[in-house]
């Protein structure tokens, strides 16, 4: 494999230019009014609320948010894999890369085609890599059964798996003949990524793939992921609560707050010029050894209850800039630049009210 351990700045800028050429045109996943709701005794819990977003072919989009902001639901909804009794509404349209195929309405698929779409077109890596494998089966069988279930050629598929494992700096023979308990957490995580890619999907959705790993392993997986994207022309949706981490990988970042997007934009703009007070607060809350303690600020208050999201701007209860307007009127998504949009009434004034500390490495 090409050891493209290029520095972040090089990679980001090169992708940035590539993206700006095709902005808004080559969409692979199109979400409209995407909502997920759970009926509960005390009311309907809306854990994803009318989300509109386009995911472009070949990009890595980072989805950031705190616990309970709807990140995982967004990930599951992309594969129409929300667990029962959750109800997914709206549309997710998948545009396959070959021009002959028609766009696929992911939420409207029957069981059979959905089974085919998942893993063959849109694949997923779960938060719990430690527990994503059957403890009584070796890795080879995991790969073989996956290939079998989708009628792929097993010999070819295993060769591909070996290559993927090697790309991820694992010893293919050793891993394939191991049982899950015999590998470390980082190895299992990488094996899971290989398993997710063995059917050559177009999109890889990753739900907190690095959450259970130590910092070094997180960084190395991040760099492996961007190599993989380049090699296999993948589109990646990277879901995390770790904003600084995702800035090192993603081309674009979307910040979820209270089950909807607060701000979406190119990574550079999101880091250097965030417009939403919540994005700023997230950046300011990032622990960093270099930043003085006095500049690190936790965000006061707590995330809204999904049964009872406040009217108006969902963030107004915690926002230092909140006005009467924010309590009543929900801010629409407004364009800051062509590649940056924000849902805030006061995004123009955010510089004065919520100054950005130098917390995050750029």
């Amino acid at each position: 494999m090409s050891k493209t351990s290029s520095t972040l700045h090089e990679r980001q800028s090169s992708n940035g230019t590539a993206d700006s050429g095709s902005t808004g045109e080559d969409i692979i996943l199109e979400c409209r009014d995407l909502s997920v709701a759970f009926e509960m005794d005390r009311g309907t819990s809306r854990v994803l609320h009318n989300v509109d977003i386009d995911i472009r072919r070949g990009e890595i989009i980072g989805i950031v948010g705190e616990s309970g902001s709807g990140k995982s639901m967004f990930a599951s909804a992309l594969l129409n894999a929300v667990v029962d009794p959750g109800k997914t509404s709206g549309t997710v349209t998948y545009h396959p890369s070959d021009d002959e195929s028609d766009p696929v309405d992911v939420l409207g698929l029957d069981k059979g085609p959905l089974r085919t779409l998942r893993w063959e077109d849109i694949s997923m890596v779960f938060q719990g890599a430690m527990s994503s494998f059957n403890p009584t089966m070796d890795f080879r069988e995991h790969f073989v059964e996956t290939l079998d279930a989708h009628d792929y050629d097993v010999v070819e598929g295993i060769e591909r798996a070996e290559e993927l494992l090697a790309d991820l700096y694992l010893d293919p023979d050793r891993v394939l003949d191991s049982y899950p308990h015999e590998l470390s957490g980082g190895m299992k995580q990488r094996a899971l990524i290989a398993l997710a890619l063995v059917l050559e999907p177009e999109v890889l959705v990753m739900d907190e793939p690095t959450a259970a790993l130590d910092l070094l392993m997180q960084r190395s997986i991040i760099s492996l992921l961007s190599d993989l994207r380049d090699k296999y022309d993948l589109t990646m949706v990277f879901i995390t609560h770790d904003l600084p981490l995702v800035t090192k990988l993603a081309d674009r970042i979307g910040v979820l707050y209270a089950f909807e997007f607060a701000e979406v934009g190119n990574t550079a703009e999101m880091v250097e010029n965030p417009r939403h007070p919540y994005t700023r607060a997230l950046l300011n809350a990032t622990p960093n050894l270099d930043a003085p303690l006095s500049e690190m600020r936790p965000i006061e208050g707590s995330a809204p209850d999904p049964v009872n999201v406040p009217a108006g701007c969902p963030y107004h209860e915690r926002c230092p800039m909140a006005t009467a307007d924010c309590e009543d009127v929900k801010p629409p998504m407004e364009l800051v630049t062509d590649t940056h949009e924000v849902a805030c009434h006061h995004w123009r004034d955010v510089d004065d009210e919520v100054p950005l500390s130098v917390g995050v490495e750029r």
Partner: protein, 341 residues
């Protein structure tokens, strides 16, 4: 591997030794002794016998020297066991090994079928209950399972005997085979062999039924709990997303991982049920190991009692031993020291 094997073997031997010693002591703490028992029997049967005649006959019958000091009896006994000699049964008037050797296969036969059936029924029912968790079927089966599981098997046995044996007359009420059937197991004579096995199953069926009816509930509840736990695991969700077939998920994922923890229980159940066979075999007059143990206790037949206890102990120890040694084969997470140690 060898270290583990040696350690387990030594543990098993040590356990057996401790139980042998304990039973030797405990049996002798029981009130009465074989000589008194025999004397009483002789007086009851032949009231006209003189005292001297009785004493002479008792001394003749009992060739165990009960007057020797206890530790000498103990050492003699242990040495005897090591040579495969369990002594002479007083009440059956035959070597203990012969009496038990004849009885044991019947007990193993009947209870193996019973335990296997119990596990098959329990595991199937438990899986269905787990898949339909919270349904009326699940709630009903749970209640039924608890009730049946809390009923002692000899109560069910008596009930079965009364209803199916005496009132309806569907099943024989005693013995292991009909008198006209020749006990034969010979692949060259399939018809006769089949007749013999079928007749044996027929005679054991009430006993088997009693064990299964009172045992499957516990197995089903354990299986249900394990399955529900596995159904909630991350790897199950991943397996579904990977598009695996429902059959594969049910067998290779849920069943396999839910049954594994019950494997040791299954092997221990063999030992345990052979030990618990005493009352049931008595109820059904089924001349197996338990039947003779009860007979031995009634007759204060020390050698036969001890022999029975040792066999039961061995059954439990061997069950646990096999479970220890083979668990690594069925569950890759447990290494019996084979590959990596």
């Amino acid at each position: 591997m060898n270290g583990y094997f040696v350690k387990r073997t030594l543990q098993a031997v040590f356990t057996t030794f401790v139980v042998v010693s304990l039973s030797f002591g405990l049996v002798r703490l029981m009130p009465g002794n074989p000589a008194d028992q025999l004397r009483g029997q002789l007086i009851r049967n032949n009231p006209s016998l003189s005292q001297q005649e009785i004493n002479r006959r008792v001394a003749n019958y009992i060739n165990v020297d009960l007057s020797a000091p206890l530790h000498e009896q103990y050492i003699d006994y242990v040495l005897g066991i090591l040579q495969g000699d369990l002594g002479q049964s007083i009440s059956q008037n035959a070597p203990v090994t012969e009496v038990l050797g004849e009885a044991l296969p019947w007990t193993v036969f009947a209870f193996s079928i019973a335990i296997l059936l119990m596990f098959v029924v329990g595991i199937s029912l438990g899986s269905i209950m787990a898949y339909w968790e919270g349904s009326r079927f699940d709630v009903g089966s749970t209640g039924l399972g608890i009730v049946l599981n809390s009923t002692p098997n000899y109560v069910t046995g008596l009930l079965f005997l009364y209803v199916f044996g005496f009132i309806l007359g569907w099943f024989p009420t005693s013995g292991h085979i009909s008198s006209e059937v020749v006990p034969i197991v010979n692949p060259l004579k399939p018809v006769a062999t089949f007749q013999f096995v079928a007749d044996a199953v027929y005679h054991a069926s009430l006993l088997i039924g009693a064990v299964v009816i009172t045992g499957f509930g516990g197995v089903a509840l354990a299986m249900r709990g394990n399955s529900i736990q596995v159904l909630g695991e991350d790897y199950l969700r991943v397996a579904r997303l990977r598009g695996l077939s429902d059959t594969r998920i049910a067998l290779r994922y849920v069943a396999r991982n839910a049954i594994l923890p019950m494997y040791t229980g299954l092997l221990l159940a063999f030992g345990g049920v052979i030990g618990g066979s005493a009352i049931l075999e008595q109820v059904f007059t089924y001349p197996g190991l338990g039947y003779y143990i009860v007979a031995a206790v009634e007759a204060r037949d020390y050698p036969l009692m001890m022999g029975g206890f040792i066999l039961i102990t061995l059954a439990v120890v061997v069950g646990a031993f096999i479970a220890d040694l083979t668990y690594g084969l069925v569950d890759p997470r447990v290494s019996t020291g084979g590959d990596s140690a």
